[in-house]
């Protein structure tokens, strides 16, 4: 019974720590993914009186990833319902060439302004239409989410470390007398601390595997997928091999490190 309690009191904080860590990692992936999708939907539209050279433009503005000519048909179609055919024909004849400019990564407001200015400074370009206002808003929201999740992750990290420290304090209180007495009989370091190392080694593996299985299997359940869909998230990015070994590594490192610390602190005033 005592031994079960010992295991549980190590496994729970470890599990939480690893869980939050993996959650933060997955969240980061989700946000990145979300961001990319969002960004792919948007582009700068420019109108130019003459044909534009993609390479030149890229040299001018390195952030540009692609320059895509837009068929004017689309533009004209937009007005089909509202315009008379005569007007439409006029429109078609007087239309400049339209291009959609894709950027390499989402710009912040300032960069966007600069790009716009640079584009406008090219004589042939008559019109530059940057992202809609709503895009900026969504982008801000996304940043907002990221900031929140970062702050929370830092919190959780701090508390988890505290939790590990507390556990160390408990170990110190529980084991120091035993280890001191064993030392008085000439017990070597490894023997004094074998129990603790064995305990935390087993527990760190249990916790890491537990968290791994959770993130591997739970996103596959139907119920979970329904919930995720309803809030517009894709939470299935657990990479069995990479993430599992990362979790195991962190778990073992943290526990072995803290146990060693406890044992080295094990110095009474006397020898």
């Amino acid at each position: 019974m005592k031994s079960l309690k010992n295991h549980i009191s190590v496994i729970i904080p470890l599990f939480i720590l690893l869980f939050s860590f993996e959650f933060a990692v997955m969240l980061d992936r989700v946000v990145k993914n979300y961001e990319e999708n969002l960004f792919n939907d948007y582009s700068i539209v420019i109108a130019s009186m003459s044909k534009l050279d993609e390479e030149n433009l890229k040299k001018e503005i390195p952030l540009i990833k692609k320059l895509e000519p837009l068929s004017t048909k689309k533009v004209i179609d937009k007005f089909k319902n509202d315009f008379s055919p005569a007007n439409l024909a006029y429109l078609r004849s007087s239309l400049p060439k339209f291009y959609s400019v894709k950027l390499k990564y989402p710009p912040d407001e300032k960069t966007l302004e600069e790009i716009e200015k640079k584009l406008r400074s090219i004589p042939s370009i008559t019109k530059v239409e940057t992202f809609e206002k709503s895009y900026t808003k969504i982008y801000m929201m996304l940043n907002f989410s990221k900031v929140i999740s970062n702050i929370f992750t830092i919190f959780i990290f701090i508390i988890s470390i505290l939790l590990i420290f507390k556990q160390m304090e408990i170990w110190t209180l529980e084991h120091q007398e035993r280890m001191y007495i064993m030392g008085l009989f000439g017990s070597p370091f490894w023997m004094k601390s074998a129990v603790l190392y064995k305990l935390v080694f087993i527990d760190s593996i249990i916790s890491a595997v537990g968290v791994g299985l959770f993130f591997y299997f739970v996103p596959k359940t139907q119920k979970f997928q329904e919930i995720m869909k309803s809030i517009g998230l894709d939470f299935s990015g657990f990479r069995l091999l990479d993430d599992m070994s990362l979790l195991l590594g962190i778990s073992i490192f943290i526990t072995i490190f803290s146990v060693t610390l406890v044992i080295l602190r094990q110095r009474t005033e006397l020898r």
Partner: protein, 224 residues
């Protein structure tokens, strides 16, 4: 066979600099000696014992125990020394999370004996101190005198070269004391063990030759 086991030269011991407990003492203990140390409460008997197994660093002077110089000894060497010593502490120092049996097995485990040998030897000693029936109990479930006897069994378990006993019969009735004295005399006689005993009262019916050091005012003097 007049090998020196303990050799102290101008030994100074203290817990706080400037407040010496043992002052400028020199003495030596030979192999197979049976030594009593007496002195008033607080005179420094336990302190002296502590220095012998290296728990208390020396303040000044030199101390050599079982061929190991304790002046600037490292952790490793200290462990080697301690494996050859059996200590009976005044406050027993039993490990309370371990059963009585495991407590007695401790020095055997450290010496690296197989589990079987450890158990056998532990049982033998528990039988000697008449506590075999308590093997599966925990120290806190024993009476004061029983705990003391467990501490004695533990100190004798690995047949050490040197036994340091701090007040080994303080909590024992006459019959149990007798048992302990016989055990210590047996080790002394049959195994040639060197024995150092702190006590308030040297038993009158011991029946062997012993040496007697008296501690007073921080100085160790041999009584003859």
């Amino acid at each position: 066979m007049d090998k020196i086991i303990v050799h102290a030269q101008n030994l100074h011991l203290s817990y706080k600099k400037g407040e010496p407990v043992i002052k400028n003492s020199s003495f030596s203990i030979h192999k197979n000696d049976f030594v009593f140390i007496t002195g008033k409460s607080g005179s420094g008997k336990s302190t002296l014992i502590r220095s012998l197994y290296g728990e208390l660093p020396l303040e000044k002077g030199s101390l050599n125990v079982c061929g190991i110089d304790l002046q600037n000894v490292g952790k490793q060497k200290l462990n080697v020394l301690r494996k050859h010593i059996g200590v009976i502490f005044q406050d027993y120092k039993l490990i309370k999370e371990w059963t009585v049996e495991k407590n007695v097995m401790l020095p055997l485990m450290i010496a690296g004996y197989s589990k079987n040998v450890c158990t056998m030897q532990a049982h033998k000693l528990l039988k000697h101190v008449k506590l075999l029936h308590k093997a599966d109990k925990y120290p806190l479930e024993l009476s004061g005198g029983e705990q003391q006897r467990i501490a004695i069994a533990r100190a004798l378990a690995h047949n050490p070269l040197l036994i340091l006993a701090d007040e080994p019969t303080g909590n024992l009735d006459e019959y149990s004391s007798e048992v302990i004295w016989d055990l210590l005399k047996g080790a002394h006689h049959h195994l040639g063990t060197t024995i150092v005993i702190v006590t308030h009262k040297i038993p009158s019916t011991l029946g062997i030759n012993y040496r007697h050091y008296f501690l007073d005012g921080g100085v160790i003097n041999e009584v003859s």
